[in-house]
Amino acid sequence: MRDAWRPDTMAIAGIGSTDFSKASGRSTLTLAAQAALAALADAGLDPKDVDGIVRCDMDTVAPVALGDALGVENLTYWGDVGPGGSAPAAMVAQAAAAVAAGLASTVVVFRSINGRSGERYGAGYAQGARAGGSSTYEEMFLPYGMQTPGQYFAMVARRHMADHGTTSETLGRIATACRKHANANPAAQMHHRTMTLDDYHASRALATPLRLFDFCLETDGACAVVVTSAERARDLRQPPALIRSAAQSGGADAQPGQMFPALMRDSITTWSSRALGEVLFRRGGMTPQDVDVAQIYDCFTITALIQLEDLGFCGAGEAKDFIQDGTLEVGGALPMNTSGGHLSEGYIHGMNHVVEAVRQIRGTSTNQVPGAEVSLVTSAPTTGGSALLLVGA
């Protein structure tokens, strides 16, 4: 079946972020409004002209509520896209689809989260004496101490190590590359804290084989982007980041529920990101070799490692050979998570990755890849994920 996707017809015209912290001291609605206003100002757009808002289904800020906070005249389109981390690239895609269909002209896409001072995902999903039901299948996992994302990804990492000889050193190279990028990014929470491979190995085990520095930073903050047509974006304040390709994929053998049931996949060390990559690159008429810079969803180091294999930057099980000193840094084969990523900038649930992917196209990253023309961003892959390929106008 031929894709009807039309590359380069839609664009990201504005980007905005709040500060990233452990305690924002303000509501998710206030954070969302600040990020959205920053993105609209960046694009040179009047907030009252926003007619669409797209969010993920884990956000506590309703689209109409954010529209009200922005003082929009009439919000005529909104949508929820899937679970948290898997959503951001797909949120941009849904906004683009709405503009293409004529349902909206100026769409704010946002994620707002008090992930450290409010609801901490690292605190686990167990609430109350009985777990599960309602098609979550959590009754098959939570009673067995499988209660947090980190514990799930630890299971995956262990199996990857057993099957492929992956070592903690490879995971450590992902962590230290992200940290090095954060050290050059004043907005990153780990801006002032360096990390060597020895520091990585010295960090305490949380769920073996994963340790503290394999885990992302629970964060308070918000990010937003403005999606509009490429034609209109060309007349706005910033150089547009054109959407060369956009894709969502659940892949085969996705399993019901969310995250933990992915332990029932035939292979627990490959995800929907494999099928996602095929669709993404086909729609864009590109291959992984065309990518100049990548923002790879990194709730954990292993999450990024497996995506590199699934997306085709190296073969299955070959990440340990692909990721050498410097591979993922500016000047390396695949500069990755150039703002510091979830591991060292902050965890805005995939949305700060979209913002950084746009900066790379504009040439304004604090770790700018010289001459970057093709910018990849992915959103969480475990039980269905999404991705974008962005290019300059």
Binding site: R130, Y137, E139, M140, R204
Partner: protein, 134 residues
């Protein structure tokens, strides 16, 4: 007083028969009556042939260790660390996997033989998995 550990909801439409069998110390897996597929995780419609007639068959409680993690960072008061969560696949049906948890830090190897054991907690019975003692 120690905090209550997390117990499963045993009344879900799709998984209740699994827990009912566990209460009788039987390990069961849902199968499609029409195409014989083991349906795990269980559900009302077969994902292969779309048949809606299913039955729960007792299976042998012999498995192999697919993966594990030693949890060192405690998040729930009823689950004191360290403990070891194990992911076990059935010897006879490798596509079917179950979780288990054991106190302490276990020294384990991928693919090592595991066996089921039934643990009673109040009025709930949990199938658990432990290494086959050599």
């Amino acid at each position: 007083m120690t905090e209550q550990r997390v117990l499963p909801l045993t009344t879900d439409h799709d998984t209740a028969p699994f827990w009912a069998a566990a209460a009788e110390e039987r390990l069961v897996v849902q199968h499609c009556d029409d195409c014989d597929l083991p349906i795990h995780l269980p559900r009302g419609v077969c994902p292969r042939c779309h048949g809606e007639r299913t039955s729960w068959r007792e299976v042998r409680g012999a498995g192999r260790l697919h993966s594990w993690t030693v949890v060192e960072h405690q998040v729930h008061p009823g689950h004191p660390t360290p403990y070891t969560s194990v992911l076990v696949e059935l010897e006879d049906l490798p596509s079917v996997r179950f979780l288990g948890s054991l106190p302490g830090r276990l020294d384990l190897e991928i693919d090592q033989p595991m066996t089921v054991r039934f643990e009673r907690v109040g009025d709930t019975t949990l199938p658990q998995w432990e290494p086959v003692s050599s």
